[in-house]
Symmetry: D2
Amino acid sequence: MKVTVWNEYRHEKENPKVSEIYPDGIHQTIASFLGEEGHQTQTATLDEAEHGLTEEVLAETDVLVWWGHKVHEEVSEEIAERVKQRVLDGMGLVVLHSAHFSKVFKKLMGTGCDLKWREADEKERLWVVDPTHPITEGLGEYIELEKEEMYGEHFDIPAPDELVFVSWFEGGEVFRSGATFKRGRGKIFYFRPGHETYPTYHHKEIQQVIKNGVKWAANTNTPKHVYGNRQPLEKLSK
Amino acid sequence: MKVTVWNEYRHEKENPKVSEIYPDGIHQTIASFLGEEGHQTQTATLDEAEHGLTEEVLAETDVLVWWGHKVHEEVSEEIAERVKQRVLDGMGLVVLHSAHFSKVFKKLMGTGCDLKWREADEKERLWVVDPTHPITEGLGEYIELEKEEMYGEHFDIPAPDELVFVSWFEGGEVFRSGATFKRGRGKIFYFRPGHETYPTYHHKEIQQVIKNGVKWAANTNTPKHVYGNRQPLEKLSK
Amino acid sequence: MKVTVWNEYRHEKENPKVSEIYPDGIHQTIASFLGEEGHQTQTATLDEAEHGLTEEVLAETDVLVWWGHKVHEEVSEEIAERVKQRVLDGMGLVVLHSAHFSKVFKKLMGTGCDLKWREADEKERLWVVDPTHPITEGLGEYIELEKEEMYGEHFDIPAPDELVFVSWFEGGEVFRSGATFKRGRGKIFYFRPGHETYPTYHHKEIQQVIKNGVKWAANTNTPKHVYGNRQPLEKLSK
Amino acid sequence: MKVTVWNEYRHEKENPKVSEIYPDGIHQTIASFLGEEGHQTQTATLDEAEHGLTEEVLAETDVLVWWGHKVHEEVSEEIAERVKQRVLDGMGLVVLHSAHFSKVFKKLMGTGCDLKWREADEKERLWVVDPTHPITEGLGEYIELEKEEMYGEHFDIPAPDELVFVSWFEGGEVFRSGATFKRGRGKIFYFRPGHETYPTYHHKEIQQVIKNGVKWAANTNTPKHVYGNRQPLEKLSK
């Protein structure tokens, strides 16, 4: 399977606190542990030509992992639309943390995708609420993160096709932290954790979920439908 | 309840076959039977200023009914976005027939919304598959239409929140003909029948479904969520 | 609308702490505030003949509200099956708190319906996660209960048709506290709060939710399907 | 993966028309093509001791395939309950054709599971309505069966978690022919075709769907939740 990990890659260049945790960027950390699964991984970042997401790159990508945060608006309309179309054509998409506000995710959801947030070194506990889901493979009943940014409801998304995790936060909020959506031939997994100032993507269980999510999101040679004007399959009475 | 019925209103001016069935336009026919329910109805059409959908009109509208077909592209991006936002803010939306391809519906769905189609005077039978749904109030097991345009699967929409009707067509296709979606605070009902060359909107059961759909789609003073940076509701441990 | 409120009615007779809060029983408190809505209300309890749920009572009931806790096993198999069938035939059902473990709810869900629990005077905050839902009419973003029993995930139910509330608990758990299900022609609303030693059913917002739930659960004259061997509706080719 | 194929195995012994198509029984035909996938397959039938479904057999089974039709009532309550519990514990279940009326399926659904039917050598066309689903791997837009029994809506099941196929029948009906459900830790796939007097299970695409369904239904080491009274995970304020 071919996996492309996309990162805005700005915080790491501007904030020493972030570059200390992710010296080569969040994308490299994620690509690295996904490589352990035997996937063929590559990375792409905002400041590359076409944000690293040329037609060729996308055509070759089975699953795209997306992390963005502070400059969603710098992603060009054209590339955002291109990624969306590729998802509808069957590319899997794993949307991480603040990418809830990315152009691609918002286009695919059709809603505002807004939420409550707070940076206060809070404890987060992600409860598994769907114990049949392959995305929870190898986990216990919950994942605990000592310090994370808080995201709180209401999370302005369509009702997920499947709700996998619900988070508890110390400050009194809850959040639908793991949710799946289908759009066209594409499968989408949104997963909440991963604020840039915490070592969340070094956490083994978080890595496990992202590995599981990538595996789940890959399309398995499902039908390609034909649209438009069609002749009848049966003889009409008139 | 205040209901606005929007119509492209072009076929009726250009095709005598259509104007014979709907002399005052599809919108007037629909507004007329919705008025029987005691709703305060008004109409709006493409060629009016701002397509008849000013901020004021939308702010006052509880449920918007939308019919469009041949010139979806003439709906301005700005107005389409405005309608979408108003739906997210809580306005109900009833999307009829070929409005599956309207800008508003596509923006709210996030998918291509394409389908198969054929104009061949075919019989359609809409089976009720959710006999709990208030949109089916007063109906029998199915609705039969002697002649309609065929719409066939795959219908490229997200999995509906609720699937209410599935159509059988003479030529061998099926279609998810009645489906509901929630987006933001807004409720959306897509209902398939209503090709302009057939008297479908004069059909009593079709009228019943649209009446039911309007009633269902109206928001009932539900919570307005607050988004953005928030203080904790509980004392944090650090 | 005719509403029947069913209660086990044992705690109130045996525990002074409970009878102090609900001198006439939980059922009377609930029936009383539902009466404010103009519904015709009646009550039924475990120790009555047929648990107060004769064929006649059920046939006349539009929505049944169910509270039970400590002696679910004393509900006869026959009556539980009768109530289930009546739900499938179109009676609405509002299942409160520990009735998650009632025979009727378990039969309708097909799962174990188990959960985690703790009695520790904890704060509960029920967040609205579906701001389109009529069950949330008149509410704010969340409901806060100073002291309640904790119910925690995993809640062993099928994925709800609609998830309306998610609870946060002081001790670190979350719970899908408001959920809807459709079975046959019947609509079911499960609502978590209401441990017998707290004055939860005197809380105005909790009362509002139950009022909304009853209104939502009532069937609106939807189709009654016919089953079994049927003649073709179209001419077969052979 | 260990797969057990259960069959009532009565028609084949009593009706030469059936035994001609399935000389060793429907179970052997299914077990045979599932074996091609590298699964370790075994069969079990009604007339064996404990219907061939001892605690040991079930404990070792990853996915159970179930075909039954005319003597659902001969399946003992105890074994039906045992199978249900094993599904809730994580065994996958593929329910074929007339097993919609099996005790196990009805217990897991909580509804009547009834439908319309007709034996009239009708054409069935199963349309794929979820082109993301791994159960549709390797298929085209639809599967066509020249002659099958008709099953028509309303199919009295809960709204499926995922709707994969919708059937068109020559006589004018439609049916939700492929549907998935999750119960406890178990995944369930209902698939309509397979009347005993037609060679449906010799059809390559039908075999493909059942192979896909078995693969999809297998649990992948997901969390086992703990229920009951639990200590708080966080320090309570009182």
